[in-house]
């Protein structure tokens, strides 16, 4: 049985904390693909944490991780983008609610991956739409410019989600499958 997403056990607290720390610990690294945009593994880690622990953990871990990382590395918190990180993780975490999906016990089907892709892509674009509106209405940035930024970031995040996030969840579930009939080949 998967624990309910609303139950705050010690494990939930620790998972959020470690998830946020992991986000902070990995966001300094990335592969630059053009100016100002990087393929960063941190978004993939959010996807994984969402899938393994549900949308609530994903949202909070993503948001806290982003804010702490901003505190430490840039001295300014980009609230819009921090909430955006949380939103995409929450959407990706919706897969946790899917019937029969339980990577901890090795239970995953192809159909789950399709669902995961749908949630993830929607999540990424909802979060960017949010950050886009936030930048325009709260910061007063020109829409023509923000849309370019959001589109580039959206494509980069989607790429990372596909290349790192999905395979990692699949591999994780496969690893936890019980292999009861192994035989030694000489």
């Amino acid at each position: 049985m998967k624990p309910s997403i609303w139950k705050w056990s010690t494990r939930t607290v620790v998972t959020i904390g470690i998830g946020a720390a992991l986000y902070g610990a990995t966001s300094w690294i990335g592969i630059p693909i053009g100016t100002d945009t990087q393929l960063r593994p941190s978004i993939a880690l959010l996807a994984i944490f969402g899938a393994l622990f549900g949308p609530v953990v994903g949202f909070i871990a993503g948001f806290i991780g982003h804010v702490i990382n901003d505190f430490i590395t840039s001295g300014t918190v980009w609230w819009g983008w921090a909430l955006g990180s949380g939103i995409s993780a929450a959407f990706m975490g919706l897969i946790y609610l899917a019937k029969g999906f339980n990577p901890q016990d090795g239970e995953i089907r192809k159909g789950h991956i399709i669902q995961f892709i749908v949630y993830g892509v929607i999540g990424i674009f909802v979060s960017l739409a949010f950050s886009y509106l936030f930048d325009i209405y709260i910061m007063g940035e020109p829409g023509g410019k923000v849309i370019v930024q959001a589109a580039v970031a959206g494509l980069a995040n989607t790429a990372v989600f596909f290349v790192l996030g999905i395979p990692a969840v699949w591999a994780y579930a496969k690893r936890n499958r019980n292999d009861s009939n192994l035989s030694v080949d000489s």
């Binding site: 607290v13 946020a20 300094w28 690294i29 840039s74 410019k145």
Partner: protein, 275 residues
Amino acid sequence: MSRTGSLYIEGNSFFHRMDGAVKLILLLSWTVATFLFLDLRIFAVMLAAGAAMLLMAGIPLKRMSFLFWILTVFTVLNSAFILLLTPRFGTTLTGSDTPLIPIGYSTINRETLFYVLTLSLKYMTLLPITLLFIFTTHPSRFAASLNKLGVPYKMAYAVSIAFRYIPDLTQEFRTILNAMQMRGLGISRGDGSLRRRLKNLSLIVVPLLQSSLQHIESVSDAMDLRGFGTGRRRTWYMGTVMSLADKLAIMLCLLLLGLAIFLKLQIFREFWYPF
């Protein structure tokens, strides 16, 4: 970044002594106030006030300059981006159009230039107060203050754990990365094509995740064994008690926020363009 994963610097200024919850309220109301406006005069006043508070806190300038430069580089790039992508955006705010610099496909006008300046100052206005907060607040007092402001203690403790384990996980990430690189599975430029490097990046996620899950397991065991989460509330060893000055500071913050909202509604409604 120091090894503790935070930028906190020991000190005994007014702001060091200030209750963490008050500083958080200050940070949030300052941020909201900044968000409200697009007015150079307001930002100039706030920036000056912020800088004065920073000086009062006596944080070594050397420690802050790095973050200052990061933001400067960001705003310059951001401005250049705006000027190139939307060279005449200022017109939509002011209605006027004063061409200034031709850039081939269009002309950057004076309105946009002034707008970019205002926007840069807006970003800058957020800096001193954030610096003040992160340099004078011990991260574990931070968790205690969140709880005091009404954030459930479990959530506040999650924040504390994040601060606690960022350095550990960063170190671990480096170790894993190094070992991978020795096997020829690195992610830096010399390690192959973009495709190859992406593939390698995806490999690193696996051990990193594995060890994070191990961390979760053992840290939760340790916390369960010491009675975390059993009570409806908990006390904080690092918690502080609000002084009269702290309470006055909260009132002042709220008053200023109220003033800001009033100003926004009544006087400084729009983008300020003096020409």
